[in-house]
């Protein structure tokens, strides 16, 4: 049986002949071999794991008052030394991981919930609603996260939830726009018309066709957003707009260690390295997900 595989939407390397039943499984095994996916997932897992552990246990409690000598070097008692208040750097770094994970997960969840809902709404209603939503979204994107965070902090005070709200809301604008673009592309597809022709309603179409088809793109964006959220939280905390103790924060550690960087370099270098590590891991993970969902980047097929 000859075929019409010149159609552009065939995933690269789609077999012309009917293939064996095991193919989807083999394909997923191949996806997992994407190096950036594996490396990114490993890097992020380490942070998540440390964050989980620190949620229940850290070598020393995270208080505003230290337990050791000030600016101590690494020792058997304090593996990574102590900061200028005599607090254990390792414990703070671990608790900082918890903070980073919480900020990333919560702000991404908020961004996804608001952004996807707005994007789908904009894509599937009348032109007027679409234009209105797009204008609001553009305005939001133009509005700096930092400024929004300052506004929220002024109103609600500096706290973990203020930071999450600020990052989540500005992320929602980005996610809304990406969802809108992709959803309206999917809504024009023949299979959506075919679904309508067989009696599927709006919600059924969104659930069965639109969401699954925009999911790969969105997943990549949400990963990148998680990285951006961690960076934004670090910046806000560095500026003193972030969560207050007893919450530890890498950004605040950077700020506090800044003045003593020559005496205790580890307390300044390590939070920076961890921020870079986590964001890099999330970006690699995002790339990995894109590689497995975008056939044009799937070089081996």
């Amino acid at each position: 049986m000859t075929d019409q595989l010149d159609a552009p939407r065939v995933p690269a390397g789609a077999e012309v002949e009917p293939v064996e039943a095991g193919t989807p499984r083999r394909a997923s095994a191949r996806r997992l071999r994407s190096p950036s996916f594996v490396v990114g997932a490993a890097m992020v897992s380490v942070v998540v794991l440390v964050g989980l552990v620190a949620f229940f246990w850290t070598p020393y409690t995270i208080g505003s008052r230290g337990t050791g000598e000030r600016l101590g070097g690494p020792s058997a008692e304090f593996w990574l030394g102590t900061d200028k208040l005599g607090r254990d750097v390792l414990s703070q770094l671990m608790a900082g991981a918890t903070n980073a994970v919480v900020v990333a997960v919560c702000s991404v969840a908020i961004a996804a919930a608001i952004g996807i809902a707005l994007g789908i709404l904009a894509a599937s209603t009348t032109r007027w609603v679409d234009v209105a939503v797009l204008n609001v979204v553009d305005l939001m994107i133009a509005f700096p996260t930092l400024l929004l965070a300052m506004l929220i902090v002024t109103v609600r005070g500096a706290s973990l939830s203020s930071v999450i709200a600020a990052i989540g809301i500005s992320g929602a604008a980005v996610i809304a726009r990406i969802t809108r673009v992709n959803a309206s592309r999917v809504l024009r597809e023949d299979y959506v018309v075919a679904a309508a022709a067989s009696g599927t309603g709006w919600w059924g179409t969104v659930r069965r066709h639109v969401l699954p088809n925009v999911a790969p793109t969105l997943l990549v964006q949400l990963m990148l957003l998680a990285g951006a959220a961690i960076l934004a939280e670090a910046s806000l905390s560095y500026l003193g707009l972030g969560p207050r103790p007893p919450y530890a924060s890498w950004g605040r550690m950077l700020n506090e260690a800044q003045s003593t960087i020559t005496a205790a370099p580890l307390a300044a270098i390590l939070p920076g390295l961890l921020i870079a590590w986590t964001v890099l891991g999330l970006n690699l993970l995002g790339d990995g997900i894109r590689e497995r969902s975008d056939p044009s980047l799937r070089g081996d097929r």
Partner: protein, 265 residues
């Protein structure tokens, strides 16, 4: 009349352009109507208007009577219960008409679960039966396949199975063989012919290709620039085309000599 009747169907854009101009035709239940015309003649738009799926900004006036009930007056909810259940459609491009991320088994089961409310397991059984009806060998394996894992002919059979899932009274086929190559096209036409015969489904077959229409349809409507220029039977149109445009189509088809009465079949 018991059947599908389109009466004075007129479609206009919001800008006031008339795309369909008082189109009227009818097909009794169990009948087979071919609608033929060049691209832009409004034949596909007619099919879309019957299902109430006109692109945004277009409005239809006139009547679309299914068993005497005017579909144009139905609300969206009532219309959703007609689509797929009473009037179903097969599309031109079998690849893009199937969601690339969903197994074809789930896609065909979609209308069944929607209109009949059958369980997942039962829908799967019924889908396998449908695959056998459209002569998809190895139905069990195809259930779990994705569209891109199937050949063009297999995909179009899947689309046909999906359209027939809820045993609709009318099947609208919009150029269902145009995207297939000639050998597969012939198989598909035979299959359509056979399936429609066996299930007693009313067929409205839209195409630009006269020999293809002649193969499956009995009645014929010739459309040009949004109007019906000739309505007769296929046999009559082949013998004594009344309208100059029909004669032109016939001459064009004869030129490539694929008309059924001219080969040895």
């Amino acid at each position: 009349m018991t059947g599908l009747e389109v009466r004075d169907l007129t479609v206009r854009t919001s800008g006031g352009r008339t795309l369909l101009d008082s189109v009227s035709w009818e097909v009794p239940f169990g009948g087979r109507l071919g609608i033929i015309g060049e691209s832009g003649s409004g034949k596909s738009l007619t099919a879309a208007a019957v299902l109430g799926l006109l692109p945004e900004g277009m409005t239809a006036t006139g009547q679309v009577l299914l068993d005497g009930r005017d579909l144009l007056t139905l609300g969206e909810r009532a219309m959703r219960r007609v689509r797929g259940a009473q009037v179903a459609m097969v599309f031109q491009e079998p690849l893009t008409a199937l969601d690339p991320l969903m197994t074809v088994g789930r896609q065909v089961a979609g209308p069944l679960r929607l209109h009949r409310g059958v369980s997942r397991a039962r829908a799967r059984e019924l889908t396998a039966d449908l695959f056998r009806l459209v002569r998809l060998d190895d139905a069990e394996r195809i259930l779990g396949s994705y569209p891109w894992q199937l050949s063009g002919g297999q995909r179009q059979r899947v689309s046909l199975a999906m359209a027939l899932a809820c045993e609709p009274r009318v099947l609208l086929a919009d150029e269902p063989t145009t995207a297939l190559d000639v050998t597969v096209q012939a198989e598909m036409l035979d299959l359509l012919d056979d399936v429609v015969e066996r299930t007693g489904t009313t067929l409205v077959f839209v195409s630009h290709d006269l020999p293809v229409v002649a193969r499956v349809a009995r009645d014929l409507v010739v459309m040009r620039s949004g109007q019906v220029v000739e309505a007769s039977t296929v046999a009559q149109a082949l013998e004594a085309p009344a309208h100059p445009y029909t004669r032109q189509l016939l001459a064009a088809a004869r030129a490539v000599s694929r008309l059924p009465q001219e080969d040895e079949r």
